[in-house]
């Protein structure tokens, strides 16, 4: 079997095992108030981190480009309580226009 197939199968098994294990933890361990608070915060910190990394970094380097302008417009749209779809489109348009000109 080629190395590439090993990678395909190996990473698929690893990913499934990780995800499934998260669902196997009995609920009683997740109802403690402290665990509950931490658990609620986890997706929030991960997604905040993701927004930061996707906006101002590229291949491990800090890069300020059209993406930051796009996100700035998205923040304004969110503050003005714009619909979700509009938030995404306004960010995309801003970034695309700056990229092309």
């Amino acid at each position: 079997m080629s190395t590439f197939w090993i990678v395909v199968i190996g990473s698929s098994i690893a990913l499934f095992a990780l995800r499934y294990s998260g669902y196997l933890i009995p609920e009683k361990y997740l109802t403690n108030p402290r665990v509950l608070r931490i658990n609620t915060l986890i997706p929030i910190v991960l997604m905040s981190a993701m927004v930061g990394v996707q906006t101002v970094t590229e291949n491990g380097k800090w890069v300020i480009d059209q993406r930051l302008a796009g996100i700035a417009v998205a923040v304004i749209a969110l503050m003005l309580k714009a619909p979700y779809f509009f938030v995404m489109i306004s960010a995309a348009l801003t970034s695309a226009l700056l990229y092309r000109f």
Partner: protein, 222 residues
């Protein structure tokens, strides 16, 4: 599942389609790294985790070993495990449904679910399933197109996709940031990940912010 909340459905679709488009970039990157079209499609069908898949392509493209590629994918996959912990008490799935739920536990499905919190558990569930299946569908279609060399779309930046994706996550995050305490946590995580980016290898700056969730979650909310 009764009538799906329209706002939830729109949000699920927007996220699924936008993120799915990035599948073309993965398809192309995977082929460039040396995977065949079939292997590329299997990665999207079975691994189904954007961050891990791009990392695999990166490691293999740079001539890395199978072990290092799988290890990197696993490291990034711990994020999905953490999402599963959050989703398990909401979805309360068993049997085959648990297997399917696990497979579609990704950034997007969890993100849409938590952003429906104010609408109740039912909306959170709907958001999770719709987005999970939606991303799965589009991600795999566009992976195939990218792997087949579809250049129709060209550079994702030219279409603003590079900003649309973080904007999509920001929009999902926004309803969860209702007070200054939560905003402070979000900003801390964002800054921490950016600062660590040049120091740690891909994916680690994001997963390391879990420390903040533990620190802030440890003491009671004020």
């Amino acid at each position: 599942m009764s009538r799906v909340n329209r706002a939830t459905a729109t949000q699920s679709f927007s996220v699924s389609f936008t993120v799915g488009l990035y599948g073309t970039a993965f398809g192309a990157a995977s082929i460039a790294a040396g995977f065949s079209v079939l292997q590329t499609c299997f990665l999207s069908l079975l691994t189904f985790s954007g961050a891990s898949q791009f990392a695999v392509a990166g490691v293999m493209g740079a001539g890395g070993t199978a072990i290092s590629a799988i290890a990197t994918a696993s490291l990034l996959g711990t994020r999905n495990m953490l999402y599963a912990l959050r989703m398990a008490p909401i979805l309360r799935v068993t049997g085959v449904k648990k297997v399917i739920a696990a497979h579609i536990t990704i950034d997007e499905s969890t993100g849409v679910a938590i952003s429906q919190e104010k609408l109740g558990t039912q909306a959170m569930k709907e958001g999770f399933w719709l987005t999970g299946f939606g991303v799965y569908t589009f991600w795999n279609i566009f992976t195939l197109l990218g792997a087949l060399g579809a250049q129709a779309m060209g550079n994702p930046s030219a279409w603003g996709l590079d900003a649309a994706v973080p904007a999509a996550f920001l929009g999902l995050l926004w309803p969860n940031l209702t007070n200054n305490y939560e905003r402070a946590i979000a900003v801390s995580a964002l800054v921490m990940a950016i600062v660590l980016s040049p120091v740690l290898s891909a994916g680690l700056p994001i997963i390391s912010t879990v420390v903040l969730a533990v620190v802030f979650g440890w003491k009671a909310r004020t």
